[in-house]
Symmetry: C5
Subunit: 157 residues, 5 copies
Amino acid sequence: MKRIGVADTTFARVDMASAALLALRGAGTGFRVYRRTVPGIKDLAVACRQLFQEDSVDLCLVLGMPGPAELDKNSAFIASLGLQFASVLEGKPIVECFVHEGEARDARELDHLARRRAEEHALNAYHLLFRPQELARHAGEGLRQGFADAGPVRPRR
Amino acid sequence: MKRIGVADTTFARVDMASAALLALRGAGTGFRVYRRTVPGIKDLAVACRQLFQEDSVDLCLVLGMPGPAELDKNSAFIASLGLQFASVLEGKPIVECFVHEGEARDARELDHLARRRAEEHALNAYHLLFRPQELARHAGEGLRQGFADAGPVRPRR
Amino acid sequence: MKRIGVADTTFARVDMASAALLALRGAGTGFRVYRRTVPGIKDLAVACRQLFQEDSVDLCLVLGMPGPAELDKNSAFIASLGLQFASVLEGKPIVECFVHEGEARDARELDHLARRRAEEHALNAYHLLFRPQELARHAGEGLRQGFADAGPVRPRR
Amino acid sequence: MKRIGVADTTFARVDMASAALLALRGAGTGFRVYRRTVPGIKDLAVACRQLFQEDSVDLCLVLGMPGPAELDKNSAFIASLGLQFASVLEGKPIVECFVHEGEARDARELDHLARRRAEEHALNAYHLLFRPQELARHAGEGLRQGFADAGPVRPRR
Amino acid sequence: MKRIGVADTTFARVDMASAALLALRGAGTGFRVYRRTVPGIKDLAVACRQLFQEDSVDLCLVLGMPGPAELDKNSAFIASLGLQFASVLEGKPIVECFVHEGEARDARELDHLARRRAEEHALNAYHLLFRPQELARHAGEGLRQGFADAGPVRPRR
């Protein structure tokens, strides 16, 4: 039985974790979920650290939605660096799923994008733990999460 | 009995710690506060490290007010990265409550914003330690500290 | 028998790892390859950490292709810092081979650039492990990977 | 007997350490100073690390003067991050006193600013070690070093 | 007998290491040099880590020449942060000697600047190890490497 940590925020404007949990459960079995909700994205790195240390999870999926202001972009940058640090220190994957408000044109698209990206990163998390060959099979194929795949520059030979 | 560290600065132009302490004490009991005041925001990360190591606090709340100049913004960025590093290294939360001078239009608003954000982050700190389910209940709801909540993109289903 | 880790992404739009593996195998023998494919470039640092810790590789070659948007540039920056951290922590080289979409004028050039850079960095990785004197011989000669060498500012005396 | 480390550079254009040492000695007794001079600000973090590890100092005061060019600003940023890292790792304060050339209008003002800021940060260092209550007493009062204090946004109640 | 590590790159367009080695040898005796050449500046931090760990050097001198493009500037930033991390972690100095292509107006000046800066930083490295009082004697005197010294803002009193 593997353990998956899920960390999200009260700052985000979409309940990405629910979408992610549904996708995880649809992907397969053999894991238990540990969840922590923190105020903002800068609190995610230590939440992961605690999920690794206190709950012994094998991987974390983090969900966040930085706001549109300059300060928010800085926060996203800082949060991501914290996640790198936590992940490397633990030697365990942290799948970062951030949706920036500016990526969508309106509320409807933002909602859709956030849920869809959360689902697709949940699947990435599942594959990292249970089916790494699924990822290897799509190496270099321009996959995206939330938006349509960019696709490979040239068709596979 | 839990221990909460509070670190603030002489640089800030509002006594955010007093507002935070009142809010903490209004939130509940079962904790003791350890406080350190340092010159500026770049001194906060090591103050937290000392609160964790010397005073065995379970969580730190840090309060800072970067100035409006470009150099101040850099300082805030650097300070935040130091806080990420300290927090992940310790595996204990550091709730960062920064108010940038430029976020408010005048002195009155800055004063109000700073106190209110300090109070609301004090509550976040309290919830992280004592009532994590309060945070989980509001996951993805677009909560803000100091300003009005942004709210969820779409009403909860 | 040395061990070389190769980490790449499903985000990249060219299968750089195949080009790298061919080049590695053309360069010589005496090594075994361990490969991991992750979703995006921010997942590469921990993939290396795991290759070092779980597969005992002596060096990692990482292949990534950041997109053209501002957010993608930030991701590349963050990913590179994560790689620095992992590499220094382990005391083992991580050869970073990133191709930014904006470096090429069209799909054909991007494809060519990505494969060629992957090959040339694969050779760098091979030299670091097996023939460091090859690198020393070209110190300060303005070598490039993917594009033509810049060459030395002044001809060697 | 406490130990204070002082690290400065040959790059700076004002002998800030002399001003700092005078201020330290004027502030009180009960400490011994250990000093290291390095070429530039990026050498300060490891100088502190050595002061902590080899000379067992309890706190470091670092003095630097980044130049006016873009590259110099980057260097200051990098140096500050190194100082965060060293300080948190050791769990001991590093009081950073940087004066950017662009902060002053002319040579006279730069000289004055650098000496004055060095003195005031020396006092901060002294207070951190010997009289933390002095800092606590001025929490949130908008203190500055080198320039006039900004003061609190609103008078204390 | 002290040990000095020298790390340089094949990316640089001037053979800065040769200039540095000549300067080191002209400065005095009592040391042995360990050299590693890596592909680019982002490989320097781990090269230093290996020089410290595998060759037990007491100090590293790193020589690099970032290109003129935006991506190159980012690489320099990342490389410098890696060097900070390695240096602080080891508690041993890494003297960073980078020359940015844009610092010189033409090939001749770039060549001259790179060699001269390498020589002057080699001397700094030598002083750090053998004659720290030489550095202390010039504290705050506005020394530069490669270009003419900026000099002190005001003549020494």
